[in-house]
């Protein structure tokens, strides 16, 4: 993990920043969210992929790509979380003020 973090730090940072940007926007975004059912399925899929990565069942390059993908996703989500919370905290929306 530490090796991947040091080796691919640029890509991970990009994922984090992308997440931060997306989180920042998400607070004021008026579009549709992911339906709950689909969100569950997606969560289950990610959990299954995480399990596969931890169990190291996927060999060779695909194994590495899975690790990299999950790591980038994790940092994206962290970025999203930080972005959303920061936006919410710094800029109270007019809707909530009324």
């Amino acid at each position: 993990m530490i090796f991947l973090a040091t080796f691919d730090w640029g890509w991970l940072l990009a994922a984090l920043l992308l997440g931060f940007g997306m989180g920042w926007i998400a607070v004021v975004h008026r579009g549709h969210g992911v339906p709950k059912n689909l969100a569950r399925w997606l969560a289950a899929l990610v959990a299954a992929l995480l399990a596969a990565a931890l169990a190291r069942v996927i060999p060779g390059r695909p194994g590495y790509w899975l690790d990299l993908g999950l790591l980038m996703l994790a940092l994206y989500l962290i970025g999203c979380g930080i972005g959303s919370c920061l936006r919410d905290w710094l800029l109270p929306r007019p809707a909530s003020a009324s």
Binding site: I2, F3, L4, F7, D8, W11, A14, A15, L18, G19, G21, M22, G23, A26, V27, H29, G31, G33, V34, A39, R56, P59, G60, R61, P62, G63, Y64, W65, D67, L68, G69, M72, L73, Y76, L77, C80, G81, S84, C85, D88
Partner: protein, 467 residues
Amino acid sequence: MRGLVRWSSKWWPGTIPLAVLWALAAWTSTSPLETELAGRSTAALKDILLDKSQIAVSGRDVALAADAFSEQGRRSAVAAIEAVPGVRLVNDETRLVPEAKPFVWSAERDVVRVTLTGSSPLPASKGKLLEAARADLGGVEVVDQTNLSRGAPPHFDDAALLLLNQVAKLKDGKITISDSKVSLSGMARDLGGREAIAASLKNLPEGFSVASNEIKAPPYIFQANKDPVTQTLTLTGYVPDNNVRAAIVAAAGRKFFSEKVVNNLKESLGAPSGFAGAVVPALGALSRLSTGTLVVSDREVKLSGDALYEAASSQLRANLFKGFPQGWQVKADISVKPAAAPVDATVCQQLFSEVLAKGTIRFESGRSNIDPDSVGLLDHLIEIALRCPTTNIEVAGHTDADGDSATNQALSEKRAQAVVDYLVKAGLPATRFTAIGYGSTQPVAANGTDEGKAKNRRIEFVVKEQP
């Protein structure tokens, strides 16, 4: 927290650029990552003894193929790769180096090169042996065809190093270690090389033994050449040591009464057994030739030359095989010297006196048996007697003054008679010879010294015209 859940449902659009980012990351980073891990894995194996090690990296997984020299070495190689940061899985494709049974190593030398074949225990040993072979054999091409195997006996390196040193002493041949048995065959480079190798083999490390040693040596050659013109006996070739050299030179001095002995002998190991016992009688046979050569090559004696007269030639042929140690071969190529022109009684007497001035007929101490060392001298006397067939010869025996006169008288008579008998046996008519004993009554030197006594103990030939 509720806000976060609500917002998170709207985070999905970012996953599309994230997927693109991921694809780009996978596309660009895989190859550098694999190179980095291969480098780190290779470095991790640096201090672990392996043969034919190959590292293949796919993603973060490392496939290690190698020949290890022990189970422990194999395990530690895998553990070393597993410990490399970033490595996810290790595919263990290592195996143990095959075990050789029996463990055979050999060094073969031919005219142009030395070839090492069979098994070597470890890469370090292989390198060390090759280096040692190059150093020992200075300049000779060394070809290493050994394979690495397990199962070498303890102290293998020391044994192989010692044997490589022996290969340097060979002209051609092969030295083999099979488990702890050593076999040698071939031809030593120098005389004595075989003995030097046999001596070195005593230093083989504990546990090793010599199964067969069939190293041959170049022929051990001794030569003696009798040249009547220059009156020399030239000794060349080899003798085993200084004592044998002294004994041979002394025997030559006794047997060759008129020749100067030129000693060009060299000392060397490797003489066949019974060397001195064969050379001394062979020199005796040579002393009976007018001109001749004696060649002793290993255990083969070759005598060639001209006998002084017919009977001597047949006696030589008949007696040549007597007195040689067992296992020796004798070859003779003896012709007879053409008879010299007849001479009258005065010249005959002169010739006898000249020969007897140079040499004395010797007998066993206190007895009348002729010393074998005197046969050469007797042959010369017979040759002279044959040149003056019309004369009668008085063979006169004299003794020194030791002992009582009656005994001396009897001894001198017996000795004179023994000489006459010898002459008759050689084919001269008995009627031409008279044996007379004078005891100690006619000394030619003072009997006070050993030298004087030796001069007084003598046989004289007195030539008389036939009536």
